[in-house]
């Protein structure tokens, strides 16, 4: 019973992670992790600055089709 419950919880967490990755909801978390590993001495962008900059980058090129 308890094993089944943990199984369901694990599946739910996996789905949630996939949904966040697919929608881009986790972009800032991933950026922070990367930033911490790659440039620990520099201050990271704030959540808001990162979001605005990220949108500009994403929509500055062809990323939607017919």
């Amino acid at each position: 019973m308890r094993a089944a419950a943990t199984g369901v919880a694990a599946v739910w967490r996996a789905c949630w992670r996939a949904l966040r990755a697919l929608s881009g909801d986790d972009a800032y978390d991933r950026y922070r992790m990367h930033h911490l590993a790659a440039h620990p001495q520099q201050p990271p962008l704030s959540r808001k600055a990162f979001y605005v900059d990220e949108q500009r980058r994403k929509w500055g090129t062809i990323n939607r089709c017919c």
């Binding site: 996939a18 949904l19 966040r20 990755a21 697919l22 929608s23 881009g24 909801d25 972009a27 800032y28 991933r30 950026y31 992790m33 990367h34 930033h35 590993a37 790659a38 440039h39 704030s46 959540r47 808001k48 990162f50 979001y51 605005v52 990220e54 949108q55 500009r56 980058r57 994403k58 929509w59 500055g60 090129t61 062809i62 990323n63 939607r64 089709c65 017919c66």
Partner: protein, 686 residues
């Protein structure tokens, strides 16, 4: 061994389903046949053909570090799980194209479109997407234009860039026309589409200022608001004083969309485009899943015959015989050149292992092709008479209901004015006659499917939900396309005067955005005033342009294969290239040379000019005739231009290929050198 047995079983089921589809005559066929044939063909194509291509032709090397791993910057280049890349890539390539094209091509019956969607995708479109994705991944995620320039020469690069800009303008115009025709004279549809704009703005502000970057919760709030917008439209439609506020003619709506397109291109992305992108992706994936489930649950019978009399030409929705025009009309869903722009540039920077290109490149396109099959089902489950009544322009069948139903019934597709009136009433519309563009008929089909699955109520709400759904991602394409077109134009004009090339200099932004909007706005306006609905002229032009881009992409791929010593496998991309070159050229030839005024652009212009001169046109049509005459001539010249560009690129590729085959020097391969993958993925950013 087991894989082989499964393959053989699938091949037998698939062959049986395709045979069933092809041989069923004079009796309705069930939609499940199409679904079964599709699934079998895609699985076989994916497991065998795509696997063979990746192993033998592309020689995918899973031990080689991808640009995402080598250049990982945590933002642009990020090694990503293959199913997440698959989702991103599919969301990017699947737009309104695979829904509209098959709907229009259903005038030939369900068979030609279905066969082309199935075989065109597994042998052509999926191969193109995967090959370009692979080649761009090997080249640090370079764009198609850059690869053409690096591998073939400056001409190929210039053609790819110019072709992209032209197709973008025509694409936006035709999609804008679809959305205008869907809103025309329908306060409910107009309100629910208009409502998406303040909703997107509100979500844009929320996700930037209130809860920065919380995309998921913002999207869910936005979805709820969009649904409320559809419901609100129904309420407005019931209220006599309010409905007048949202009741517009075609030219009024076109002016609105043009102004909207310009504003959307000059305001910051986070305010409108980005939130609209999130909402449209959510809607798109949700509706596609819902549609797939519903089709399987209700497995409707298709009422359209396998082949109609219009395969011989003279179709009311667009002119021309089934060959070559089914291959032009259905571009997205079978082979779409535009995908090559997504497969190079954006997606390769996320690929975590070369082994993923099969799932991402080939698999996403197979899924898009399946969306096109669902559009075929939604169009052909309608009574053929109803389908033609919705999709045929008033200029073809007559403006009043009784003439229209008499004409359509005389083609052998019985329909009555009462039936159309009743249907319009059930869908919450004043009329469904001559609602060209494919969106309304698709929405009727989808509403029928959804309402039979979820209970036979709310038909009108489902109908307007489907229209809003199409409009949301058409508007996303309009916004995004105008913006990218503006960047391309600025890049180009910057060569002549530096400040024009600065993307942050506001006067340049205003000017170049206006130029791009004027480009597509012109075609949109002429389409709106055309009594034949405009789609019959604009859609073939779009199809030819899109296939032209595919021919350029496949030329680049074939050239690269031959240069890298794989001449014996060049047919993998060379075969689809030859087919597209033939189809596009024959179609272009007919659009240019045909003496039939419905088919040939120049013949159409001459015919209308003759009628205008002899004074037989009614005053209203005579007033717009000079514009239509000029437009047909312009379209004729554009078709000539597209064809010339395609053949010059093919000739350029053959020149390079011949040199390579004879051992003469060619441009060096731009492939990045081999770097072995690190045992641990991610981590170091240098």
């Amino acid at each position: 061994m087991l894989k082989g047995i499964v393959g053989v079983i699938l091949a037998i089921i698939g062959a049986f389903a395709i045979g069933g589809i092809a041989l069923h005559r004079n009796e309705p066929i069930n939609a499940l046949w199409l679904v079964t044939a599709g699934v079998c063909v895609y699985v076989i194509g994916y497991r065998f053909y795509a696997a063979w291509i990746t192993a033998r032709v592309l020689t995918v090397d899973a031990t080689r570090a991808t640009p995402a791993e080598r250049l990982n910057d945590g933002r642009d280049f990020v090694p990503t799980h293959r199913w997440i890349v698959f989702g991103h890539h599919f969301a990017a390539i699947a737009g309104p194209g695979p829904l509209v094209g098959p709907t229009l091509a259903a005038q030939f019956g369900y068979l030609p479109g279905t066969l082309w969607i199935l075989f065109g995708s597994v042998l052509g479109g999926c191969v193109q997407d995967m090959t370009i994705l692979f080649m761009s991944t090997r080249r640090d995620g370079r764009s198609l234009g850059q690869m053409a320039r690096d591998e073939l020469g400056p001409f190929g690069g210039f053609a790819a860039l110019g072709g992209t800009l032209m197709i973008m303008i025509i694409l936006i115009a035709v999609l804008a026309l679809v959305v205008v025709n869907a809103m025309k004279g329908s306060p409910w549809a107009t309100f629910s589409v208009f409502a998406t704009i303040p909703i997107a703005l509100a979500i844009g502000l929320y996700v930037r200022n209130v809860r920065p970057g919380r995309v998921l919760e913002a999207s869910i709030i936005g979805m709820v608001l969009l649904l409320l917008g559809v419901a609100g439209g129904g309420w407005i439609d019931q209220s006599a004083p309010l409905r007048g506020l949202f009741d517009y003619t075609g030219p009024q709506l076109a002016a609105f969309v043009i102004a909207y397109g310009w504003l959307a291109a000059i305001i910051p992305v986070w305010l409108l485009l980005a939130p609209r992108g999130y909402l449209s992706t959510f809607l798109k994936l949700g509706v596609i899943a819902l549609l797939a489930i519903s089709i399987i649950v209700i497995h409707p019978e298709l009422k359209m015959p396998a082949l109609t009399r219009f395969t011989a030409g003279n179709g009311p929705i667009f002119a021309g015989k089934v060959f070559p025009f089914v291959f032009i009309t259905i571009a997205c869903g079978a082979v779409s050149g535009f995908h090559a722009l997504i497969s190079s540039g954006t997606t390769p920077k996320l690929i975590g292992s070369e082994a993923d290109v099969r799932l991402v490149g080939y698999g996403s396109m197979a899924l898009e092709s399946f969306v096109a099959i669902m559009a075929v089902i939604a169009a052909t489950l309608l009574d053929p008479g109803v389908y033609f009544a919705i999709n045929t322009g008033a200029g073809v069948v007559g403006a009043d209901a009784h003439t229209a139903v008499a004409t359509i019934s005389s083609w052998g597709f019985p329909v009555t004015a009462e039936q159309m009136q009743q249907l319009a009433h059930r869908m919450g519309e004043r009329t469904l006659f001559a609602r060209t563009g494919g969106a309304p008929s698709l929405a009727v089909g989808m509403a029928s499917i959804f309402s039979s699955t979820f209970g036979n109520t709310l038909l009108a709400a489902w109908y307007h939900f489907a229209l809003m759904f199409e409009a949301v991602f058409i508007l996303t394409t309009i916004d995004a396309g105008t913006r990218v077109g503006r960047f391309m134009l600025q890049d180009f004009l910057g060569h002549f005067w530096k400040p024009l090339g600065r993307t942050s200099w506001y006067p340049s932004v205003l000017l170049t955005s206006a130029l791009i909007v004027a480009g597509w706005g012109y075609f949109l306006y002429v389409g709106v005033i055309d009594p034949n609905g405009g789609i019959n002229i604009l859609w073939p032009l779009f199809g030819i342009a899109n296939q032209m881009l595919a021919a350029i992409a496949l030329s680049v791929a074939t050239g690269i294969l031959i240069k890298s010593g794989k001449l014996k496998y060049a047919w993998v991309t060379g075969g689809p290239l030859a087919w597209l070159a033939i189809v596009t050229t024959v179609a272009a030839w007919q659009k240019i040379m045909s003496p039939d005024p419905a088919l040939g652009f120049f013949a159409g212009a001459a015919d209308l000019a003759g009628k205008l001169a002899s004074g037989v046109l009614p005053a209203a049509r005579a007033a717009v005739a000079p514009k239509l005459i000029f437009n047909q001539q312009l379209d004729g010249w554009l078709t000539i231009l597209f064809t010339v560009i395609v053949w010059l690129v093919i000739a350029d590729m053959l020149r390079v290929a011949l040199r390579a085959a004879r051992g003469l020097p060619t441009l060096a391969s731009s492939e990045a050198p081999h770097v072995a993958r690190l045992p641990v993925v991610g981590g170091s950013g240098s």
